[in-house]
């Protein structure tokens, strides 16, 4: 019975729609609860309801993130920050650890298959992880409403990038720049979809590295992970093939988020009751998401993710501006 359901694309679409409705219903429900009893105290709700709800929501987020081709962190922070009673400091700390756990789990496989490139990742990671420390410190020092407003604006920017950015499977890089040549940032991987070995190189390395300063600061400040920005820069600007860009971006998060996570950890902005259910929920959701990935229509999922981000970005922006408390 279950196998039959899993093999039917229609059933999958239905499951995804039901999950989305449930998730939206849940977060909207939390919004009304929060409005009735603002943080920090939620006296009418037993403590265990929150971590349990968090587990269920992150489980669904894990599925949606895989199907939508985004990291869990970018969905986690605005949704949990907007609709749960936790302070944004703890949500961002948890968001970084959620993104970190996902990247650590994916890293070994991507590195061994030579899809994530250590030669490409290491120089980029040095820039991004240094910047992420600065971002984390800024984020923890700023007032909550300012961070919330900036988060909302950033999420809306991400929506714009996701809705408009093109992707290039095999960008044309006729002349690699001097820096990438001196660092020998080049590679070769097996592209199974065309049955060929693909050699790749990159260009515009200094510009790309400069952009990773901005990406690192934003990753650290908002605890978002940064796949949404890493991939366009690696693929469209620097000219790495799409698969190499996606895989290297995922691996890169394990380094960038590590540096920012330490700042949050040392500051005490890591609440185990938020972090652990979230990590477990999103990882289990990701496993289920990978299993159903082959049966779904990526475009429909992409627009669902964009819709979710738009909603939660607006929520964060309006919450930060004091319009939607």
């Amino acid at each position: 019975m279950l196998t039959k359901i899993l093999k039917s694309p229609r059933a999958f679409t239905l499951i995804i729609i039901v999950c989305s409705i449930l998730m939206l219903g849940a977060v909207l429900g939390y919004a009304s609860t929060e409005a009735a009893s603002p943080p920090p105290a939620t006296p009418d709700v037993p403590w265990w309801v929150w971590p349990l709800s968090l587990f269920l929501v992150t489980f669904v987020l894990g599925i949606v993130a895989v199907l939508g081709g985004v990291g869990g962190g970018v969905l986690f922070v605005p949704i949990v920050g907007g609709f749960f009673p936790f302070n944004l400091d703890f949500v961002r700390g948890a968001g970084l650890l959620v993104a970190l756990a996902g990247a650590l789990a994916a890293g070994p496989g991507l590195l061994k298959r030579n899809l994530a490139s250590l030669r490409l990742a290491l120089p980029v990671a040095l820039i991004a992880s240094s910047a992420a420390i600065v971002g984390a410190m800024i984020g923890l020092a700023l007032p909550q409403d300012v961070v919330q407003t900036l988060l909302g604006a950033t999420i809306l920017l991400i929506v714009l990038i996701m809705a408009t950015a093109k992707k290039s499977d095999f960008p044309n890089v006729p002349n690699p720049d001097a820096l990438s040549q001196s660092l020998a940032i080049t590679g070769i991987y097996r592209e199974e979809s065309i049955g060929k070995d693909v050699e790749w190189q990159i260009h515009r390395t200094p510009k790309g590295l400069a952009l990773f300063i901005v990406i690192g600061v934003m990753a650290g400040m908002f605890g978002l992970g940064a796949g949404w920005a890493n991939v366009p820069v690696l693929n469209l600007l620097m000219g790495a093939p799409l698969k190499i860009s996606v895989a290297t971006s995922k691996f890169l998060l394990s380094i960038t988020d590590t540096s920012a996570a330490w700042i949050y950890l040392n500051q005490g902005a890591v609440l185990p009751m938020i972090v652990v259910p979230s990590i477990v929920g999103i990882m289990l959701g990701s496993i289920v998401g990978v299993k159903i990935l082959a049966k779904t229509k990526p475009k429909a999922i992409k627009w669902m993710v964009i819709g979710l981000l738009l909603f939660s970005g607006l929520r964060a922006l309006l919450k930060g501006l004091g319009i939607w408390k």
């Binding site: 302070n87 070994p108 030579n114 040095l126 020092a141 394990s254 540096s259 950890l265 500051q267 185990p272």
Partner: protein, 141 residues
């Protein structure tokens, strides 16, 4: 079919291997410690049922109200052996794993005389060690 040309480099495989083992160990410890925390085996730094009073606070207010440690203060036995801070062991392992991975590939890069990447790896270890050290503090608002 893949061939030697498409194989990952020695340092890339070494990094992947240590990451794979460390990630599973860290994740297992995170989950085990969480069950230790909620089981009530260890004395609690904050009673779980009181958490909703505090989780809406800014972290600096949270630390001030509960007299909570910052930096590596949580690793002192006084805190570590409580149901709350015991969770930090697994989290610190996950957060520390990347430093270990860099330390593992550094000798390989040195042996290969890959000077630019030796410098990059050393610089990254220094950056991550600085972040982990607890020296960098935020003033809060």
């Amino acid at each position: 079919m893949s061939n030697d040309r498409t194989k990952a480099s020695e340092e890339q495989i070494a990094y992947a291997n240590i990451l794979n083992v460390g990630m599973w160990i860290g994740l297992a410890i995170v989950i085990i410690m969480f069950f230790v925390y909620i089981s009530g085996v260890l004395p609690r730094f904050i009673p779980i049922e009181d958490l909703p009073k505090y989780w809406g606070m800014k972290v600096n207010d949270f630390n001030h109200t509960l007299n909570a440690p910052t930096g590596w203060g949580w690793a002192a036995p006084k805190y570590l052996l409580t149901g709350y801070y015991v969770n930090f062991i697994g989290i610190a392992i996950l957060a520390g794993l990347t430093i270990l991975c860099y330390a593992v590939i550094l000798p390989i890069l040195i042996r290969k005389k890959d000077t630019p990447y030796v410098i990059i790896a050393i610089a990254e270890i220094a950056v991550l060690a600085l972040a982990a050290s607890g020296i960098l503090k935020t003033g809060g608002h």
